[in-house]
Symmetry: C2
Subunit: 190 residues, 2 copies
């Protein structure tokens, strides 16, 4: 059997860092095309290139029944009135679901059904578990003033498909309006 | 797509209850054969039949890539010097792994490899993620003074096999010795 150090991960609830696991860092410059307001994006990027999110993933095994998991940290902020977000992805194996649990902060999981285009936002915060069905693009959005920390568990064989989203982006976005997060169509207004 | 109420579960971090999901309750009388000291078990049961643990499970879908999850609450206590525990199980689909995250309290996950009989204990407490490989019996043990709350995520097709454990029980147990939890062989002494 694996030893205890392999079977166990400890993460820092403030930073989302998993001890001994390098995190992928995404800065604002990595997120071109993700925000609806391209002018606001370029304007922000001309001033600074902040860290927007990190993801630390643990993949201990890759069998059909195996699971991997990742702890993400998404910083607070906006581009224009659109809240900071992750790139979002489908699973390469479209049938693969994912279970997310908020650990700290206040976020939303933006879901978009690949077949119908239907969108949902599901709260992502402590004591809330969000289910991401298969065949569903999913993107994390930080709608609060603090970093959003969360964990996602997925089948080891899920894989990540970022390309489909990179081509068309999500059809809806989450914007701040009167101090509240609101889901609107990409071409829509609040 | 499912609606938000289906995609989201809220649980109470104090009780482990998931809103709208009935929890399975296991009282001491349900745990005959689980504790190594049968005399101490019968003696305790003659006095009282306390609730030992609850498990609330959410199974939204059952496809090959789907995931289910459960929130467990294991009360503090001992039978003889053996800490309160869950029955423990294999997955019926032996390849299926499980990812556990401690939410509150102080516990251990007791693992036993089906092929080799090797045992491990992995901390189960907040900010600690325990990986349960396939082909591994797993049992939760509360080694602290407070209820232990945790979440486990597993493939929807994992299934539960309690019978193998019910026949032979685990080969090791976790007992209190000088105020500390210690793993010992079933026939062993501290």
């Amino acid at each position: 059997m694996l030893n205890v150090e392999q079977l166990l991960s400890r993460f820092d609830p403030q930073t989302g860092e998993i001890a001994g696991v390098p995190a992928v860092e995404r800065h604002l410059s990595d997120l071109r095309g993700c925000f609806a307001d391209a002018a606001a994006y370029e304007q922000a990027l001309a001033v600074d290139n902040p860290l927007v999110y990190t993801v630390a993933s643990v993949a201990l095994a890759g069998g059909a029944g195996d699971l991997n998991y990742a702890v993400g940290r998404l910083m607070p902020g906006c581009i224009g009135n659109e809240f900071y977000l992750t790139k979002g992805h489908f699973h390469a194996w479209r049938d693969a679901a994912e279970i997310y649990l908020g650990l700290s902060g206040d976020g939303l999981m933006l879901l978009e059904d690949e077949m119908t285009g239907e969108s949902r936002v599901v709260p992502l915060r402590p004591h809330h578990v969000a289910y991401v069905p298969g065949h569903t693009a999913h993107r994390t959005v930080n709608v609060g003033p603090e970093p959003l920390i969360y964990i996602g568990v997925y089948p080891a064989r899920a894989g990540h498909d970022y390309d489909a989203i990179a081509r068309t982006n999500f059809r809806h976005l989450v914007v701040e309006h009167d101090g509240q997060p609101v889901l609107i169509p990409k071409q829509g207004k609040v």
